[in-house]
Each structure stands twice: as C-alpha cells, then as structure tokens.
Amino acid sequence: MSAESNQHLDSETIAFMDACLQKEHPKSYLIAVLHKIQQRYGYLSQAHMDQVAQHMQIPTSIISGVSTFYHFFRLQPRGKFSISICLGTACFVKGADKVLDAFRTELGIELGETTPDGLFSLESSRCLGVCALAPVVTINDKIYSKVTAKQVPELLNSVKAAAID
C-alpha cells in the first residue's frame, strides 16, 4: 500500500479532479477529491495531497487544514491488522476505554495511527449492534467479544503468531 502511494495518483482520480475543475466553484470539491483518494488508497499521503494541491491549485496548507479537521480522513496507511475498538455507550460502560488504553500502551500508538512496522493500526468505532458482547473489538473482519484490558497482550501475540504462520 505505501509503495503504491508514493506513485502518482491514478488516472481515475486525475479524471475525477479534472471533472471537478470544470464545475462551478471547483475548489469546493476538495473534500470530494480527498474522499476519492482515501477510497482508492486507504489514506491520504503527503505526496498525494501535494499532487492535489498542484492539480487543483489549492495551497497545501489549506488541504492540510481540511484533512486534519475531519476525523474521517486517515493520514497514515492502515496496518496489516486494523484494530477497531467500539466506544459506543454499552461497550464504554463495560470498560472499552480501559481496553483502548491497553492497546495504546501495548502498541505505542494513538488512535488513527499505525505501528512503524506497518502491522497494526488503531481506530475506534461506534456501536456495532452486538452490545450483548460488549466490550467489542474487531481486528480486520474478526469480532472479539467481552475483551478485557488484561487480555490485550495475549490477543496481539496470537494475531502476530497467526500472521507468521
């Protein structure tokens, strides 16, 4: 993923930008363009934002302002394992915040970040609709139920071990 993001934006994204530039108030399509890139590449790299700046003639400081303002935008690639902790009401009441703290400590990263080895990234989500299993953690597509802070190191080890196999 990260090797790909060093490359130029693909022709589809460029065509989308060109289409936006034809419209009235072209610069107001910045958010739409950033969405498109995130959809395609998973996150917004500095190289890609620089290309948007040149192509749409919008200063990088403005693009940087927009991409850091909206929580939806990711500024780092997702790890091989994307860990998402549900912080919805039920999970929170059942101690999801402590689970999150354990992941932060174990991985040494904050929400929205990825470990330097590219293995894990940390995100939060709101209610997955399985409150009976609270607190819920998903790692990629797999759901882990009634997770406690204490289980976190072991959980990470097992995921890592599975990855090596």
Binding site: S64, G65, T68
Partner: protein, 584 residues
C-alpha cells in the same frame, strides 16, 4: 450608498450601509475592545471580544462582523458585556502560558494590554492547557504554538497580503494549531521569511529567530573586529522604540549607539544601495539595448526573492542578478575593506541591522558565503532586536549626540535613502538610468509617479526619447498581479520594483511594533516613515547614486567598471527554483 441611522451608547449617527458596528463606533470616538480584528484584513469574528448589545437581539453580537441596520440601538458597555468580555479574556488566558515577565512581547502584547484594560485582576478559571514545542527550524521566523490564541491574523496576512498561504489552522478543537501544511517546520515550507506574521501577531506566537546572543558574544571577543551596517529604513523607524513619533529620523543617534555598544566601525547599507543602483542601472541599460529579458525585476528584497524561487521560478531569468545592498556591502567589507585595513576576512564580524527577517535567511544562503564557506554577513538583527540591545545596555538613545558613519563605506547619496520605501529603488534607478541614457544631469530628480505608499503603481516615463513602462509592487499579492500581467503579455514593462512587505522595508517584518494610536501595518505609519526618508534625500547634496564619489573611487581602485568581470564576481548572485512549489 444608502445612509443608515442608528444610535450607539445613546449617540445618534448616520453611516453608509456597508459599515460595521465597530467601524461606526470609531466615528464617535468609541474604540470597542478587539483582538482578532484587523482593519486591512478580512473579518474573522474569532475572538468575540468586540461583542456589544443590540436592542432586540437575544445574544451579544460581534461588532466587527455585524453590519449596521436602520434604527439599530447599540450599547458597547453594560455590566453584562463587561463581565462577558472579561470572561472571554480569562478563558484565553487560561489556555496561555503564565510567563509574561519573561516573554519577548512583555509590555507590548495586545493580550496583556487588553486583559489589563478590561480589568482582569484574578485568574478564576483553571483548565487543561495546551502544550507545544517551539518550532525553530527557520533562521528567520520561529513559531510558538503554545502562545497562539488562534486569532488567525497571521493566516490572513500570509494569504491576503502576501499571497503565500503558508499558514493554516490544522486539527480541531483544543488540538487546533496554526502551522504550515503537514505541520512542517517553517524552514521546509513555502514561508518566504517576510515576518509579517510576527508583525500582526497580538502575542508572541511568531517571533524572529533571535541573533542578539551571537552579537553580544562577538562584541565581547577581542579577536573579532565587529562592524555594523544599517539599512535605510532603520533610521526612520528606530525612534518609535524610544517613544518618538513615527518618521523621526535618528541616523546620527543610531551610529553613536552602535559605537557605544562596542562596534569598531559603523557603515551604511546605503553605500551598498548606491552600488546596487549603479550595477542595476547598467544591467537595465544593457537589457534595453538588446531588448533582452525585459522587464528587469529588482532583487533587493530577500522575501520577494524567496517568493520568486517558490512561486515564480519561471521568472528567475528576468530578475536582476545584483545582490541586495546588505550583501553587496558585506562582500566589500570582507574583501575590499579587509585588504585596505590589512585584516583577515575571517576576523571581521559583520552585523547588519535590518527592518527585515528575510535578511536573516539571505545572510545564510550559500550564494552569500565565500568560497571557503564563511558568511559575508555574520549576523542580522531586526530593528526590534537592535532597540532591545540599546535598552539592555542602558543607553539613553534620545539623548545621544549624532555620530558619523565611517568612511568610505558609510557615505551615500539621497537615492540610497529611498531604498527603504516602496518606489524608492525604482526612483533611484530611474535617476541613474536617465542620466546615463541622456548623458546629462537631471533637472527634476523627484519621480512623484512612483512615490505613494500604495500596493501597486504603474507609470510611463520618457527618457532619452523612449518610453519606459515601469511598475512598483509591494505586498506579494500585488507582485502576483503584476507578474501575471507580464506573463500574459498584456503590456510591455521595462522595469518592475518588487518588495515583499506592504509599503516596503519601512513596514518590514522586523520593524518596531506600532505605537499607541496606530495599529500594526497602519499605512499611516508607513507614510510617516517614508516621509522621513524623502526629507533625508532632499537634504543631501548628492542625490544620484552613480555620483557618489566613493563609489567612483571604488570602481577605479577595485571593481573596474559597472558590470565588469570583477563586479560580477563580487556583487552579483544567482537564484534557484525552490521546493515546495508555491500555489499561485
């Protein structure tokens, strides 16, 4: 425009309908407290300090952002408003370092003054305070996000006046910071080092990268021969640091102050300015003869040069190759002067007193270092830093006798003094070019067409049977306008003067913070400072650069003739396209 009738604090008045409550109140002599507001920038409405009561309104309204309405009744002071303003200031203070006594802006901080004026005597709120490291990558401008109060004046001046848009608000809520894209260091950004963010900042979130320690150390080092040069615009502004009215010329006192501080010789950047004109006029005449690379773009302003390298690299071939007056003089000090006085260039420590933060950047450019790597200019002090040094040394500046610059690199013509103001480089160049082209002395030396303190000026001037189309731009948004005209070929220009700061060096990023009754970047201050320079010019016996007898002698002894190989080696420079590329 329709006239609107309203009352403010029970006083009736009528104003045109595009007036805001804040502006209307000013007409009655009511200065509504404000913080983020700046008359020459767009309305932000960020700080809410300027709130007032309007009859029929449920909430207080921000007077800077509210237009007047027919029959409006406004109250600017009531116990409730005063309390609300005080609370707002306390909330800002709560998220601001409690270190006023050791802050660079102590005594001239708008937040500090406002808190005092509003009667904040207690700190009632206690919350979590933001923490940030000071960002010091740039040689010119440092950024202290911990002190920032998010008024966005710097964001606006950078975009609206300078057309650079290097600064933006990043992140949100309590995490919000003002920074370049990706929170890069200023040195890695498109920052042009002009320092206008420092000027408009109400607090100390932006400051020049301080060089005073290095200068004190050099002055105390017996192995160093420490010399100074002062830029034209310093003499017109320095008095403000000591309570004098803007535009009080203090040339002689400045020279004396430098001697008292321990500088062994004091030279005048003006000499470099005269020399710049001789070289630049020669360049212009040659290009006119061959119809080559016109218009010639002036190169004195280091902020403009960096702007060109980031935003208009395609214009580099058009720029004059002349070093700035500061760098020309520094080169001469480490070559000509060193040889004349039998000193090793490495033992000479050149301090330049500049109105400018970009000059700090220029001084460190490799183009302005000798082949063996030492800088020609060792340290650049802004007017503000220099004022502080004088105060710190216990010198009573206004009582000083007038000193004289050291010869020969301290003698200058009136043309050089004009360099400090917008249009001045143009006027100085036109004087010399006209005399050289006609071969006759000018009868009228003043070129009033380029004199006004205004962002963009154009004139057509008849010289020796030909018409020269000239333009003068200051504030780089105006530079963009004129350069786009050039690129589209809308008109043929021959010479364009560009200065980064609005009004030129007199309003540079290193000049004193405004005195009472003026606001920062008030064009009136620039006008008063410019007037002082024009008065100095008028009073001089020689007012055309190439007739400076010491310049003539310098060419005879050392540089051969304008544009010679030797002159090119010493006085000219090159430019490079710079990344990141700016967005026009």
């Amino acid at each position: 425009m329709k006239e609107i009738n309203l009352t403010i604090d029970d006083q009736a008045l009528s104003v045109s309908q595009d007036t805001t409550i804040l502006q209307a109140a000013e007409k009655l002599g009511i200065k509504i407290p404000r913080l983020c507001y700046h008359p020459d920038l767009s309305i932000e409405g960020a700080c809410r300090i300027c709130i007032v009561e309007v009859d029929g309104s449920r909430n207080f309204v921000p007077s800077c952002a509210t237009p007047v309405r027919e029959g409006m009744r406004v109250r600017t002071n009531s116990p409730e408003i005063r309390q609300a303003r005080r609370d707002l200031i306390e909330l800002i203070l709560d998220n601001h370092p409690r270190e006023c006594q050791i802050c660079e802006r102590d005594g001239n901080c708008e937040l500090q003054n406002l808190a005092y004026a509003m009667g904040v005597r207690d700190r009632l709120f206690e919350g979590k305070r933001k923490r940030h490291e000071i960002e010091k990558s740039s040689l010119a401008v440092i950024r202290d996000a911990e002190k920032c109060i998010l008024c966005r004046r710097c964001v606006r001046v950078c975009a609206e006046v300078q057309g650079v848009t290097n600064l933006s608000q990043l992140y949100r809520g309590v995490e919000t910071v003002v920074a370049p894209a990706y929170e890069q260091g200023m040195a890695d950004s498109v920052c042009i080092a002009c320092g206008q963010c420092i000027n408009v900042c109400p607090v100390a979130a932006f400051l020049e990268n301080n060089s005073t320690d290095r200068v004190w150390a050099a002055l105390a080092d017996p192995s160093k021969h420490v010399v100074a040069q002062i830029a034209p615009s310093i003499r017109a502004a320095i008095g403000e640091g000591f309570g004098l009215a803007p535009g009080t010329p203090m040339t002689g006192q400045t020279v004396t102050a430098l001697h008292r501080l321990g500088f062994e010789a004091v030279f005048d950047t003006n000499f470099g300015a005269d020399l710049t004109i001789v070289e630049e006029a020669n360049e212009l005449i040659k290009r006119l003869e061959k119809n080559d690379r016109l218009p010639l773009l002036t190169s004195c302003s280091s902020g403009w040069i960096k702007f060109m390298e980031h935003f208009y690299p395609e214009m580099i071939p058009f720029a004059s190759t002349c070093r700035s007056p500061m760098s020309m003089l520094s080169v001469l000090l480490k070559t000509y002067y060193a040889e004349k006085t039998g000193r090793n260039a490495k033992d000479i420590f050149v301090v330049a007193i500049m109105p400018c933060t970009a000059k700090k950047f220029e001084a460190e450019r490799s183009e302005h270092c000798s082949a063996d790597g030492y800088p020609y200019t060792d340290a650049v002090l802004t007017t503000r830093e220099f004022i502080w040094m004088i105060k710190s040394y216990g010198i009573n500046f206004t009582m000083l006798p007038e000193g004289e610059f050291d010869a020969p690199l301290g003698f200058s013509t009136g043309a050089a003094d004009l360099f400090g103001t917008t249009g001045g480089v143009m006027e100085a160049a036109l004087r010399t070019a006209a005399e050289k082209l006609t071969g006759k002395p000018l009868t009228e030396l003043n070129f009033d067409q380029v004199r006004e303190v205004k962002g963009l000026k154009e004139a057509s001037i008849e010289i020796a049977g030909r018409t020269l189309n000239v333009a003068v731009a200051n504030g780089l948004n105006n530079a963009k306008t004129i350069l786009e005209r050039v690129k589209k070929g809308e008109k043929t220009y021959h010479l364009i003067e560009l200065m980064a700061c609005p009004g030129g060096c007199i309003a540079g990023g290193g000049q004193p913070y405004p005195p009472d009754n003026h606001y920062v970047l008030d064009p009136e201050i620039a006008r008063l400072r410019a007037k002082a320079l024009y008065r100095i010019d008028e009073a001089k016996a020689i007012r055309v650069a190439h007739r400076n007898p010491f310049i003539e002698k310098l060419y005879q002894d050392y540089l051969e003739q304008p544009g010679s190989h030797r002159a090119h080696e010493l006085l000219h420079t090159t430019y490079t396209p710079r990344e990141p590329r700016g967005i026009k």
